[in-house]
Structures are given as structure tokens and as C-alpha cells.
Symmetry: C3
Subunit: 425 residues, 3 copies
Amino acid sequence: MTPGLDATWVDQLMDDLFPLCRSITGNGNRATLARVGKEIDLTVHEVPTGTPVLDWLVPNEWNLNRGRLWGPDGDLVADTDNCNLHVVGYSHAVKGELSLSQIANHLHSNPDMPWSVPYRTAYYAQTWGFCLPYDDHASLLPGMYTVDLDATLEPGALTYGELVVPGTSDREVLVSTHICHPSMANDNLTGIAAAVALARWALSAQRHLTYRFVFIPGTIGSITWLARNRDVVPRIAHGLVLTGLGDPGPLTYKRSRRGDTGTDRVLARVLADRGGQVIDWYPYGYDERQYCSLGFDLPIGRLSRTMHGTYPQYHTSADDLSFVSAERVLAAVDVATEALELFDERRPLTNTAPEGEPQLGRRGLFAKIGGTIGNASKESTYLWLLSLADGDTDVVDVAARAGLPADEVALAAARLRDAGLLAQG
Amino acid sequence: MTPGLDATWVDQLMDDLFPLCRSITGNGNRATLARVGKEIDLTVHEVPTGTPVLDWLVPNEWNLNRGRLWGPDGDLVADTDNCNLHVVGYSHAVKGELSLSQIANHLHSNPDMPWSVPYRTAYYAQTWGFCLPYDDHASLLPGMYTVDLDATLEPGALTYGELVVPGTSDREVLVSTHICHPSMANDNLTGIAAAVALARWALSAQRHLTYRFVFIPGTIGSITWLARNRDVVPRIAHGLVLTGLGDPGPLTYKRSRRGDTGTDRVLARVLADRGGQVIDWYPYGYDERQYCSLGFDLPIGRLSRTMHGTYPQYHTSADDLSFVSAERVLAAVDVATEALELFDERRPLTNTAPEGEPQLGRRGLFAKIGGTIGNASKESTYLWLLSLADGDTDVVDVAARAGLPADEVALAAARLRDAGLLAQG
Amino acid sequence: MTPGLDATWVDQLMDDLFPLCRSITGNGNRATLARVGKEIDLTVHEVPTGTPVLDWLVPNEWNLNRGRLWGPDGDLVADTDNCNLHVVGYSHAVKGELSLSQIANHLHSNPDMPWSVPYRTAYYAQTWGFCLPYDDHASLLPGMYTVDLDATLEPGALTYGELVVPGTSDREVLVSTHICHPSMANDNLTGIAAAVALARWALSAQRHLTYRFVFIPGTIGSITWLARNRDVVPRIAHGLVLTGLGDPGPLTYKRSRRGDTGTDRVLARVLADRGGQVIDWYPYGYDERQYCSLGFDLPIGRLSRTMHGTYPQYHTSADDLSFVSAERVLAAVDVATEALELFDERRPLTNTAPEGEPQLGRRGLFAKIGGTIGNASKESTYLWLLSLADGDTDVVDVAARAGLPADEVALAAARLRDAGLLAQG
């Protein structure tokens, strides 16, 4: 773990970010990136409304000032000052008196989570709406309701943040997390906190690969980033989408579309060593949808815990800070850090004395008294490396084939390199 | 189901065909094809005796007039007017008085089915014989027997029927069924009825592929057809051998020799959706032996129910009309029809907007209010298609990978085609 | 089984070899090869000390005359005339009085096998030592000990034996076994006895392939052989390392490094037919380490019973003649002989009449009366061969695919060859 990045740090960052009203555009996102910018030196990009990005256009910018709904008796039914999920994302402004039947199609609730406010958006629909706990919704009485939805939806910009940490190689690792969800913790303050922690790891030493971190609104953000970075795309060697890392579920890696990339093999190895699970590609989810779309097909997978949509708190006000834990976020950072370290190690190994075994004893790499070599000994790790280092194999491949922890194999590889028996290209 | 092809239709066709005395040649086959010709417009081919076909020669034509065997007391032991299995297929004519020991090697029975007449043939052996229920055989008394086996075996022709239904493409689907079995129902009146029903389906609309139906004697018939159709063979894209479709066993597809052809994938998909089973290639069986022989190796598998040789009625007089049901034949036709429909859909899909996801909402293909997409929704079917449509994948491949019903995927593909997002080559 | 090679023969050979004091060099090895030379006509090679062999040099020659250790009370604690494992292999000479603390680092025992003398070596360490039963070791009293370790370690030679049995082809099968272990039976008198028996099989008839048998010290011996036989290496088509064939464990084949060579497929087939097991490659073990090292990567696997290091008698004086049985050695020879026979059969099969099935009946290869072909019949074996004989398939492949015994398939292939339907390249 990078020094200083403890549970207190994670909690403080998530506490500060929680109240901000984020969406795919707007001032809430700018405030979010400003807070992240106190941790790492972020470049903030503003992409104007109307900019063509792949099959899409950057939409109008949305800013919510406040949304309130009063009942016939003057009681406040919903107020975004209490919970910013009360207004459907991208609602246009509305002000006036409307009967219950007139607003019926503009009210949203979820009977499966009757006491929580659901999260709904209408980015491209030109409508408005309020979200309510189902119990409140069901008890609304006929009569006239007062609506005051104070929001602006007009030309502006889409905002995202980016940090590039150059390595000795221009081949890149892309770490991407979305910043478009308003006050929900697991989705996605945990992803943001983990990405910041990984950026701090990348900054803490000179690495072989270049590490790039992007903090973007979901879907339209990754589409915008891809449209503006066509030169970077061919250099991406690995990548991770981070989200949903604080719930109680097991760490879960979703494979890239290709399913057998180096990224997939590294994450499978790391999670096998640590009890996580790996699942196959499927084409919905988060920004891996865009990075792995057929025309890009990048070696990028997603690290999460419980799958989105399968826990009841998902996309409701119940996904609050009490639902997540900093320790679980840090455990995810640990796994992702080991993956990033192994990405750096994924250079092909070549046995420089491939005919027969080299005399390891002469080089101090073998026990002096023979007859007692165990299967998981240092000696056998050397032999596995020498046996498999055919110029097209890396430490992760060796670890997988030998059933040994990848970090031990990396250490043994370093010793064989020092002894001149192994080249790492 | 094609209109008019109900259980009554199947039963009528099988009732009419049952009494005819079929073999690999002869007038019984001509009568069989004449009856089939009342349902579909069949071309009847006559191939003269002695014609070289691959490693074989077309044999003499065999016609059985009547075969009778009387015991020492004058009782009629066997009479083909009662059951045409009583005479070994291709027996030459015999008339005379013979002792029991003289006819012993010419009598055949099956102790495992002691009350049934077994089916035996001697196409290339120049011999004669009678088949009896084992119980009758075992109780024969010594003495002189009277044999009157009235048959002709002389130069003539091998007869088969063929129907070609042209599509917009000259690539073909071959449906083959054998007509060489005398009065047995499952093997193979059920195969004949199913092939006729599929031909009616092919005729009911313009299809993409060309569909060819052949009604042939087993082994020598498919060898003859292959020898005479060398120009057609390279255009065969798919095919099915149909037999044994009326017994109570589960629908079973036997893979082609290659085992991973498009035909194999389509049938695996259809049967997975409908509870049938798939088994590996093996080199004995019916005419798939010839179509999949090494020198042709066609993408043709076999659809059956219980494997031949593993039910006690197989190749005996107990395989009669009471052993099969028209409903089971129609269920097989249903499966085969879906397979033929998917053969027609097996054109490669290409995502025409592969970079990122296209904006489905703008095209009315995505729900307007976000935050609630389920895994088996229409939306996810579109995403699966877009994710996999790399120009080398068809709807059946997508259905298999996504775990979705193939007909739903075909429907979603049609909508994406209409929206200009998918090309089907 | 080759005539004369019965249990009595195995026992006699192992009895004669057991007392000899073998190591990686020395007169014990010469005596071992002399005894083997009474069975087969062996060429003995002497490679001088200092000869460069791959990454190594041939070491000094070691000869042990006698090693004795007396306790403070004059009792004889260890004497190599009783058990030659008492001295660490390659100990230099020592003579004198030493206190218990002075010899402490030179004493070796194994608490897991407290009543046995462990086997230890120090080939490249320039040290000396005694090995004791742990119970004896633990009860040693302080005081002065008398050491008389009479050995020579000086320039000489490395000795190995070789027999080449020429076939009609210059492609070779290499059978290798190590002769460097002193008085232990399973490791490796059983390997030596099995290799001799296989050599007698190779000599008993003219074979297609050339068979080469090497009797070498472990590691440095195979390295020496590889360094001196670079011309032979490219001709090696198959090979087996033999060791540990007399213990009660199941016969076990360890795959070559590549894991899918013809050798691997043959052994998998033979052991499947006989209840043995197959395990994956790993880079420690015996001389397969050298033959399968990356620079050679030969199609050579290892035949053993219980894995070395996993039975308590391994590398101790408890691995004596009572631990092994001649019957188990002969069962291993049986398996290896069948493998060698199949190596000889592994020539690609080509169906010479691939279009349709050839008319087997005409050639006397099919039953005359049709309607009764079973699945495991001779007929179906012919059909499997004809179906798979595509010029890149051998009898072992056919046996594996068809699930038939390899020797039956070989017999059927011979009949199809005689009928002109199959070519074997």
C-alpha cells in the first residue's frame, strides 16, 4: 500500500465527495475533479456541447439548482436539498401547479426498495421527473401539487479529468472510473477513491509502462475520450475500469471482450492467489462497453465486487456511505496494485542458456547438499522459469502454468536475470 | 408448422406407404416415390444396373413377387403376403422340396425378440433365406419343407427421387432420407414423412439458400447420388439425414465428421433450446456415412430419436405403425424447420458503427429513462449483436455466446439491420 | 514379453547390481555397465574430467574405498562396508580425531525415517559427510570421534553405456535410465532392469524405427550425452526416461514439456487401456529435465510408479530389494513395450478410396447378411480407420478417437493395408 493511503484517507475523500450533485455534465463534476485534484495533479478537459464524438454529440450541460415538490396540503414531498436523487437526471426546469394525474407519468419509485429514492436519468429524452420512495409515492392523495424544479439545460461543456504518469515505455495502462453518479457511495465514490490511490502508486516510483488515469462521465465520457485520443488507443497494453469496490461482495474481474488478453491473464492470476472471482465478458455494464466495443476491442477489463443490478441498494439512496467500507476499497486497491505491478513485469522472458539446465549450484542458486529438493522450493521456481522462458512467456504465464504465486516468480526471475541466465525484453 | 401438415396428414402418408415392399431397388421403391410425388413435385431418376458409382456398381434390380414356406404337415410357416420381412432382401428365386437340415442355413430369427420377424438382407451375397419369429423357428420339426420363393434379380435400375427448391443463392441445404426399408415404420416411414414436410416448408416461401431433398436407398443410393452430383457437392452449405423420428426417445442430433461445422452449431443451439441431445460423430449409421466420408466430408449431420440398434423393435416386424406417433414426427419436423430457418440466417453479421456503442436511444432502440436495464432485455440483445458482429459471426453464434434463444437474436438482428447498424452478408 | 525375461531374471539382475557403489563417476558405474553388458552388447564411453558439456564441465572422478566413523567409546557408528549410503557422495578423504561439535555439520539424518540411512550427495561442494539413521544420530554423545573416510576425487572420466539397435528408418527412440544411485533398488535398479528388457525386445526383430538405450549418471550424464550427440538429437521421434518402476504405486507417465507430442499421446492411450495415470510436465525430476530443456525440447516423457520424493523410502536405505517386486517391473516393461510397438506403428494413415465407403463386403471384410452390425465390431473398426485416415492420423489417434484398444486398431489397419484400402507412410 502506498504510504498515507489508509482507511481514514479513503473515508475523508468519500465524505467530501458524497454530497456533490454529479451528472454526465455540470458543476458537480467540476467540484468532484477539484477535490480529486487535491490528491493528484489532474488535467481538467472541457469539451463543448455539440462536439461530435463517434456516433454521438456532446449534450447540453445540465445544472440542477434545486428541485422541490409540494403536496395538496402544502407538505414538502421531495426536495433535492435533502437527497439529490429526488430529481430525474437531465430534467428540464418546471414551475407551476399540476394535478396528481398530470404529474403521474413524471413520478418514479421502486416497490422492491420501498423506503429508498431510486436513481433515474433521462439524458436524451427532454422530459422531467421526480423520484420518491415507493411508500411515499403510493400514499400520495389526489389534488393539486406544486412543482418547482429549478435547473438549466443549455450549451456548455462535458468535463473530465486526466493524469498521465510517463514510464520508460510509451505503452500504456489505462485506469478509468466514472464520475457521473450523484450521491451514491459504492457506485461510484469507491471507484474514484481506488483510482486516486492507484495514481498515487504510479507516481511513487519510475515505472516501465506509462500509466493513464481518467475520471469521466459514464458512456458519453469514455466515448468522448476515445474520440479525442485515437493516437493513444494503439499504445494501450492493459487497462481496468474501476467501480463498485466497497460493498460486501467478493472482488470480481470481468474479462475483456477478447477474453484472453494479458490483462485477463494477470487479473485471473492475482485473483486466484487472493480468492477473488473472474467472470466472462458481456456487453452491458460500465465503460468497458466502449473500450471493448468492436472497433476498439482493447485489453481492458473491469474490477468490481457485487455485480451492478444484483444488490438491492444498487441505484438507490440506500447506496450511501454506510453501505461501503474503506477497508474493502483498500483491499481492492491492493489487488489492482499487484495487477499493475505485474503489467510492468509482463515483458517476455528468454532463457539465455537453454540447452540442458545451467549449473545453478555454481551460481549459488542451488542447495549444496543434494537429494532433498521439494516441489515448491526456490530451486523449482528457477527450473520453471528456465523451462518456460521461450521468449514469448512472462512471469504471469509462468506463475499460472507452475501454480506458484506471481510475486515469487517475479522475484526468482530477477535473481536469474542477475545471474545472467534470463533476459527480460 | 406449414399449413395442412398435421397428425392426420402424417398418419395417412405412413398408412399408405407401410405395405409397400421396398428394397435398394425395385418396384416397391417406384410405388413409394409415386405416393410421395402426390405431396411434392418429385423428379424420379433411374440409374441402370452396372453403372459404376464411386467404388461400387449399381446392382441388379430385385423384385419379390411372393415368398412362401410350408412345413412337413403342409402348414404355411411364412408368407410375404402377411409380412414382407419374411424373405431375406435380395434372395434369388427358389422352388422345391428341401429337408429341414437343407434349409437350416437359410432360416433367420432373433431370440431377443422371439415373437417378431427380423429384417435381414443379402444384397451382394447371391443367396436366399426366410426370416421367422424365433418361437416359430425353434418349434420347426424335421421333415421335408416346400419352398416357393418367387423373385427376380436381374439387370434393371436403381430408383431415387429428388426435389430442388431454388433460393436466391446457389448454396444448398441437402435433406436426405432412405426409402430402402420394407414394412417398418420408424425406420423409415418417419424419415420420409419428415422430409416431405420440410420440402413443403421450403416450397412455402422464397428462401435465401437452395433446398434439395433426396429420397434414396441407403448406402448405394447416397453413393450413387454423390457420384452423379459432383458439381453440387461443393455448394452444400448444410444438410440433414432424417430417420427414426417417431419412437418415444428424445430428439438426437449426431454431429458431422468434422464436428464443428455450422450445421453442428445450429442443431446444438436448436436442441439446447428444446431439450434434445447432441452426440459425437461415429462412422457407422445411415447415409451420413457416405456424405461425411473422408473424400467428401460434408457439413451434414443426422437427426433421429433413439439410436438405431438400441431399441428392441429395431429391424423387426415390431417396428410397425403402433410403435411410432405422428405427434413425435411433427415435433421433429418443428426442430428441423427451425434449423433450416437458421441455416437461412447464417450469413455473417457486421457492425457498421463499431467504434463505441451507437446511440440506440436516438433510434428508438433503448428505453428513455435510464438506470433499469435488465440482463435479458431487448437492449442487451442489441448490445450482444453489436459486440460480436465482426463480419465472421452469425445469429446462431451470437445466440450461443450470449445464451439467448436464437429466434430472439434473429429478430433483434432484423431491427438493427432496419436501423442501419448491422449488415448481413 | 520377450522370451526369458521373467521375474527370476529381473531378481537376479537386481541382486547382482545392488551392492555396487555407484555415483556420477567411478568404478561402481563401470562394474554396473559390465554386469549389464552380460545381457546386451553395450558400448562403454569414457569422457575425461574437464570436458566441457553444455554449461557444465565433466567433474573429477570419485572412488570410495571405505568410510568409517567411530564414537568416543570406540564403537563403529557408520561403515560403508555395511551400507554405502553412510558416506555423502563425492566426499573427499578425511582421516583424524574430531570432536562431536567439529563433525556436527558433516552428519546427516532424516527424522521422518528415523531408522534409515538417508542418501545425500555433494557433487560440486568440496566437502565430506556421513549419513546416519536419525535415531543413531540423536543418541551420539559428546567426545572425540575417529573419522576414516578413504576416497579419491581426482581427474578421471565419466562413464556411460549405450546400445543402438538400427531400424529401417534413422528416426530414433531414446530410452534413458540413470546409473548414479548407489545401493537403492527402486531408484534405480528397476529402471536399469526395465531398460535392459526393452533393449532385448528391440533386438528380437527388425523394427521400423531405430532404438537407442543409454545408461548414464543423472543430470551430468544426460547433459554429456546431449553435448556429444547433436547429430542424433534432430532424429529423435520418441523417448522414455525409466525410473522407479518397482514400488507398489500405479504406473504413471509424466508428459514431455510440450505435453502433446506423439509420445504423450501413445503413453496416454496405453495407460488408459491398462489403468495407469498420466501427469503434466514439471521441470524437476530425472533426466527428462535435460532432454526436455528449452533448447532441446524433445518428445520424451518419463515412466515411473510413485512420484519420487512422495514415498518415505525414497532416497534412503529403506529403498532396498524388499521394497520392489520383479512382477511390478515386468508390468512396467509390458506397458513400455506396447508403447514402443505403437511408436513403430505411428506412421500416417491414408485412406486410398476416400469418396464414400469402399465396398468392404466385396473384399471379405464385411458380414454377408446385413442388418446386425454392432458398435464394437470389426466392421466398425474398419469404418473408424477409413473415416479418420486423412494422411495426418495414426493408429494411436484412431484408437483414442474411437475409444478402441490400440492393438485392435493396429490389427484392423494391417488388414485394410492388405486389401489396398489404406496406405501407411
